[in-house]
Symmetry: C2
Subunit: 290 residues, 2 copies
């Protein structure tokens, strides 16, 4: 599918892409680009990349496919550095969890390179673990990958990126960066902040009374704070809006208790249970119906 | 340990107690009491009880240990019915998730029976499943069981109930009903409502963008709404207070985003991650250090 693929930041997501590209014969050669030799050594050891370099410009030279998989905060400086080094006709993609600001940053950095084709993506997979040692070739199997093509994206490049993600096992969904960002604020960023806030509510003697329910509810809060700060920083408006309507809903629940209106509370709990059951069923269908 | 134990409501919790009492030789005979024959048949089939009856008074007659494991809402009518039928010297316990109101209801119902000894408990175990078919003899292994003895509980009865729960595999913790209710409002009831509210936030097209993070964060919301309504109804003040301070924390997060104060947000996320890691470590120690 590709002769050479370069992965900038072969951590959990980038490393899993590298593993899958290599194991499935989707790339003849995978080059890993990182900032620390120790991380690159782990990526090599995990089989996520064939070669590794600390020099971004050197690493991407000649690559047909370049994947940006670093934390979002690094994108600005990185694209400045990479843009002149990219091969003519290269397909560039990123796997960031937020899209609107990221797309602005990267298209601005590519202004002098109309011969490089950028198609933004967001694979909805991961775990609270990180690093190339957590990478798995099947990480994207049954996952959804959102692509947010630009107004001027050529259909052939959109098709190529779609084909790539399908080959990695994902279902591909196309939407605008704005619609993506509003949806993930509700489905991912708010749940993360809400879980962290639950942990903040605990008082000193509560420890032994924390059972499996709380442990599961807050699993996502074990993720790296700096990654989530990048996400909040680059998706401020939608996250803020989601937090405020969530706060209003929590207040509505408190009011229902004030008024002894348990019917209102029961309705919310019943809708929530039904909604979760639909989600779980659809996920199962997606995973088994392949 | 007991000759005859009666379990009123042999569902997930009651059924797991029955299984463990029988398998571990802690009771010679376990009688299940239920409202529907079909549930009792399942309890018999699961091996949770030796005998089963639809008549509470008949079922508890002669039992040394009587466990109330029905939904909380049934306690009032049940204790009226049971009180005259209990054997002199019987040890009565309940496994309800809230304690202050439950203790009031049950002690009121026992007013004419100073020869029956009530020790309230709350085993912090369970799952979003229910019914005797989900019962497991090891459900309480490594779990915490809170007991909330009354001012007039005799030390020997407290010791007997403590011994029972230890034999079922639990770590026993003693506190007042009020302290228990405030703590579980934070560690269990609020997380449940918060998870339900996250599901309520979703909009129609969000389904495919719901990944593992959201599914795990909302697992508890698959629980039975009627059980949670009973819990909220019998723990109104603490739950309302927890909802309101949670709402204020969510608002503080939105304000931090308003002000671009990502440092404040990062501090919350870092504290939350550290707090969760401490909880997970302590749970692991509790489970392996036995």
């Amino acid at each position: 599918m590709f002769e050479t693929a370069a992965i900038v930041g072969p951590g959990l997501i980038g490393g899993s892409m590298g593993l899958a590209l290599r194991q499935r014969g989707l790339a003849e050669r995978v080059v890993g680009i990182g900032r620390r030799q120790v991380s690159l050594d782990k990526a090599l050891e995990a089989g996520a990349v064939d070669e590794a370099t600390l020099e971004p410009a050197e690493g991407v030279a000649g690559a047909e496919l370049v994947v940006l998989a670093t934390p979002i905060g690094a994108f600005g400086a990185l694209i400045e550095q990479l843009a002149p080094a990219l091969r003519a006709g290269a397909l560039l993609t990123d796997v960031a969890s937020t899209k609107t600001e990221v797309v602005e940053t990267i298209t601005a950095g590519l202004r002098g390179r109309p011969d490089v084709f950028y198609v933004p993506t967001h694979p909805m997979a991961g775990s609270e673990q990180s690093g190339p040692e957590a990478a798995r070739a099947d990480l994207f199997e049954g996952a959804v990958c959102v692509i947010t093509p630009l107004a001027d994206t050529f259909p052939e490049h959109k098709a190529r990126i779609t084909e790539l993600w399908r080959a990695l096992g994902a279902d591909v969904l196309s939407m605008t960066p704005q619609a993506h960002d509003r949806a993930v604020a509700r489905t991912s960023h708010l749940p993360h902040l809400a879980a962290a806030a639950l942990l903040e509510m605990l008082e000193e003697p509560d420890g032994p009374l924390c059972a499996t329910g709380l442990i599961d509810t807050t699993r996502v809060a074990s993720g790296k704070p700096e990654i989530w700060i990048d996400i909040c920083a680059t998706n401020r408006e939608p996250v803020r809006e989601a937090l405020r309507s969530y706060g209003r809903l929590i207040e509505r629940m408190a009011e229902a208790l004030d008024e002894g209106n348990l019917g209102a509370l029961e309705q919310i709990l019943t809708e929530a249970r039904d909604s979760r059951e639909r989600l779980v069923r659809k996920r199962r269908e997606r995973r088994t119906g392949r």
